[in-house]
Amino acid sequence: MSLLKITDLHVSVSGTPILKGVNLEINQGEIHALMGPNGSGKSTLAYAMAGHPSYEITQGKIEIDGTDISELDPNERARLGLFLAFQYPVVIPGVKVADFLRHAMSNVRDPERKEGEKLIPMREFRKELREQMNDLGMDLEMARRYLNEGFSGGEKKRMEILQLALLKPKFAVLDETDSGLDSDAVKVVSEGLSRLSGPEMGVLIITHHERLLEFNEPQFTHVMLAGRIVETGDARLAAELHEHGYKSIRERHPEAAAEEVSETVEPV
């Protein structure tokens, strides 16, 4: 069984420390929820795990099955089985969804594949793509569109979940923090996720949405405050936060609360 282990992780963005010693362990098959007020560092953790170049790991490490991935390029992390579902997936004009997916699948499925080498056979790719798109209720025509260009919020979310379904990572991080999601999009993510998660996948759901957790009840809920995980509990903790907000958390952790910065640090 695979293990994702984060030890004493410190991350800075443009020289400003955001994460100040995060510890987290996720086993394959487990669902974890990460909650916390805006600016507490949740997205920073997601981006740092995936290897965004603007997020500098200054201390600590991230390991998958004992391999430290904190110095690796994003594509190498993906090949080791890490996946980040983006909150705001970027638009890539002129790049057809199907082309992109076939390249992504070829690389992730065959970690030995070198650049320019053969992609997975078209027949196999099409079959799998068709199945997954059908399951997600996506129009096949969408695979011919340009990646995220002109996609509605719901279509973008479906596209992220489609990638999750095709790449079958060992560990999926879902960065869904903001309130920008309409209820349809939440439904897409939560249903898709509950279908895909299972003994083969460890999941970290970063969310404000109670509803996302109803479908995918976490075994563990973590609360982040000022760049640290200050509390870990079960699903009841998520429910409590949903009902009462972060007031009681701040009261229980006055030192961390004092460190909170007033302005929100958005992902770059």
């Binding site: 890539i92 390249h103 690389n107 053969k118």
Partner: protein, 474 residues
């Protein structure tokens, strides 16, 4: 019903290397190699070797005078190192023109085999002209088109066989005094294509011309004239390559197009010169009533390209479109753009220009939209997008707009983007390498142009871009 999913072809592996057309053939078997340098004597000699009528000889000599009088342009790119006396203006590589590839000398035929022309001809072309150095060495046209009165020949032969057409149109769209390089071409022109499509004739598959420079210090000055008569339609495709030498070559073409009432013509260029070629080309079309003229213009390679395909919308309801793409690599300057001149009411034009600069390369969009006082209710839309792949590269936009009419709708949009860090990160987080990801972003950037190309050319264009992208990031 299953939807077809488009993805890249199965053949993904590309032989990545340097400029792949940089090879050259031996030149010792050439029939004639003119002396380097330029003067009235050499101009007259070219005319003499071609047994031209007196009017053409006069036209050349007059043009040479104009060339000498005109100063070298100081705008655009740096032309100060171009030495006109260090160039061969006329080189005859073979005796006569082949009608089958067997008649083309072995060395030259092998070159075209390597470039894939005979194969393409069989598959998807209505006719082919292959110009090697100064003259066309191979020509073909499908028989049924010839029977319908279509003429597709090299311009030297056209002067001999269709003097009345040449006399009527030659130099009327681009007169020698238009600019220094039009004058130069008018003086020393050789080869090129002549196309005449009779009224109402539609040519389904493209006609193709292929221009190849082989010698060092070579000047190629092809002259192309296309007449699409009333209600006729045609697509013409042009490709260009040259070997890599340490010293410069010059390519200075003149292309004149006439699209008559209700005609449609598309001129597609994929130029991929080696990066020591000065590419100074004048291209202009006159589009008459209710006609459609389109330039699809791809510029890769060369040391300096200055090229602004123009459309004069001469008749009411005429439409003009230019789609242009430039790729500027190390040590290269692509000064490219388009001109649209609205001379009649209800005319419309569109310019889409895309440029990519990498490794310190420089690209400029230089464009003109001009509206005459008579051109009521005309519309024009210009979109320029520049993509910079690194901080050393440069992109400029010089849009000129001259409007002399009140009742017009003109739009201009320009954008410059760096290759997005967020785009790279997104693709890489899905397992793509940095090179794959950036290549995919660039390919996507030029997709609007590539999808206008005939399929084989689209594949070729993507392959060329992949080659240009090799080692560009990281």
């Amino acid at each position: 019903m299953a939807t077809r999913l488009d993805t890249n072809s199965e053949n993904e592996s590309v032989d990545i290397g340097e400029y792949q057309y940089g090879f050259h053939d031996p030149t010792d078997k050439y029939v004639f190699t003119g002396k380097k340098g330029l003067n009235a004597e050499i101009v007259a000699q070219i005319s003499e070797m071609k047994n031209e009528p007196a009017w053409m000889r006069e036209f050349r000599l007059k043009s040479f005078e104009i060339f000498e009088q005109k100063p070298t342009p100081e705008w655009g790119g740096n032309l100060s190192e171009l030495n006109y006396q260090d160039i061969h203006y006329f080189v005859r590589a073979s005796e006569g023109q082949g009608r089958s590839w067997d008649e083309v000398p072995d060395d030259i035929r092998k070159t075209y085999d390597r470039l894939g022309i005979p194969e393409a001809e069989k598959k998807f072309l209505s006719g082919v002209k292959a110009q090697y150095e100064s003259e066309v060495v191979y020509g073909s046209l499908q028989e049924d088109l010839a029977k319908q009165g279509v003429i597709f020949t090299d311009t030297d032969s056209a002067l001999r066989d269709h003097p009345e057409l040449l006399k009527e149109y030659f130099g009327t769209i681009i007169p020698p005094d238009d600019n220094k390089y039009a004058a130069l071409n008018s003086a020393v022109w050789s080869g090129g294509s002549f196309v005449y499509v009779p009224p109402g004739v539609h040519i389904e598959f493209p006609l193709q011309a292929y221009f190849r420079i082989n010698s060092e210090n070579m000047g190629q000055f092809e002259r192309t004239l296309v007449i699409v008569d009333e209600g006729a339609s045609c697509h013409y495709v042009e490709g260009c390559t040259a070997p890599t030498y340490s010293s410069e070559s010059l390519h200075s073409a003149v292309v004149e197009i006439i699209v008559k009432k209700g005609g449609r013509f598309r001129y597609t260029t994929i130029q991929n010169w080696s990066n020591n070629v000065y590419n100074l080309v004048t291209k202009r079309a006159f589009a008459y009533e209710d006609s459609l003229m389109e330039w699809v213009d791809g510029n890769l390679g060369s040391k300096l390209t200055m090229k602004y395909p123009a459309i004069y919308l001469m008749g009411e309801g005429a439409r003009g479109e230019t789609l242009s793409i430039a790729f500027a690599g190390k040590g290269q300057h692509q000064d490219a753009g388009a001109k649209m001149v609205h001379c009649a009411p209800n005319t419309s034009s569109r310019i889409i220009s895309k440029s990519i600069s990498k490794d310190g390369g420089r690209s400029s969009y230089r464009g003109l939209v001009k509206v005459d006082p008579k051109a009521d209710r005309c519309k024009s839309n210009v979109v320029c997008d520049a993509l910079l792949l690194d901080p050393e590269s440069r992109s400029d936009t010089y849009p000129y707009i001259e409007i002399e009419d009140n009742d017009v709708a003109i739009e201009h949009e320009a954008s410059v983007s760096k290759i997005g860090e967020e785009q790279l990160f997104y693709l890489m987080s899905r397992g793509l390498t940095e090179a794959e990801a950036s290549s995919m972003i660039v390919t996507g950037f030029i997709e609007p142009l590539v999808k206008e190309l005939p399929m084989e050319y689209a594949v070729e264009m993507n392959r060329l871009i992949e080659l240009q992208m090799e080692g560009s990031i990281g």
